[in-house]
């Protein structure tokens, strides 16, 4: 007898690639870098520097949180030096 072959494939965990723009005149690079270091275990980060913005590309590792970007941006604001 032929065995039934399952056509189900293993679902790959979808890695969401998101990005966020931080205005260079408003956000400090030091605060962004510190935030990246603190969030390092939760996601992969790639920081690119453009003319007016720091573009931060985020690939979430373990979970997909709708508010991850918002939480991250708040965290950066909290680390800003007065």
């Amino acid at each position: 007898m032929r065995k039934k072959v399952s056509h189900k494939r293993e679902k790959k965990s979808p890695e969401k690639a998101n990005f966020i723009n931080f205005n260079k005149c408003i956000y400090q690079k030091r605060a962004i870098l510190k935030s990246i270091a603190d969030f390092d275990e939760l996601a992969d980060f790639d920081l690119k520097e453009k003319k007016e913005y720091f573009v931060l590309i985020i690939k979430q590792k373990f979970f997909s949180s709708k508010n991850f970007l918002d939480e991250f941006s708040n965290y950066v604001l909290g680390l800003m030096e007065k």
Binding site: N23, S73, L77
Partner: protein, 156 residues
């Protein structure tokens, strides 16, 4: 002053509005944003020289009125910080002088010691090195024509 325009997105639970940098400096906006970090997700954009764009996204689900109220509270807090910054600027010299005096006192040089007073020494307060001993009338009097005082007719 014109009320800043706002754009509400109920689906995103978000309100976006612009602030003129002429009225609201970036320092005040930063401080205000810090106060609201626990209540909303805040994102800042725009040109700090011209106009700052503030995006407030409620952490809890908010309706239109509540989002408007959130913006109102943000603006009130902003005013609070504006006043604090202004007062800090006005009192800067005095604060520095007080701290400086405290440090000198800590080193053991007491300007107000009995010896100095007995010797007839006036200390440094009469020389006014910081230029803070300016009468209120001189400091805040409007330049231009001096106002004439009304003569009060006296009976009898």
């Amino acid at each position: 002053m014109q009320k800043p325009k706002s754009k509400i997105n109920i689906k995103e639970n978000q309100i976006v509005f612009q602030l003129s940098s002429r009225n609201y400096p970036l320092e005040a906006v930063h401080n205000t944003a810090y106060v609201f970090l626990d209540r909303a997700y805040i994102y800042l954009d725009g040109d700090p020289e011209k106009e700052i764009v503030v995006s407030l996204k409620g952490k809890d689900k908010l309706d239109k009125i509540q989002l408007e109220a959130l913006r109102g509270e943000f603006l009130n807090e902003l005013l609070n910080y504006l006043v604090r910054i202004q007062i800090a600027k006005q009192n800067k010299k005095i604060r520095e002088f007080v701290v400086g005096s405290a440090l000198i006192h800590g080193l053991g040089t007491d300007l107000m010691s009995n010896e100095n007073i007995d010797n007839g020494s006036t200390g440094e307060w009469k020389s006014d090195p910081l230029g803070i001993a300016v009468p209120w009338e001189d400091k805040y009097e409007k330049k231009g024509k001096p106002q004439k005082r009304k003569k009060i007719a006296r009976k009898g």
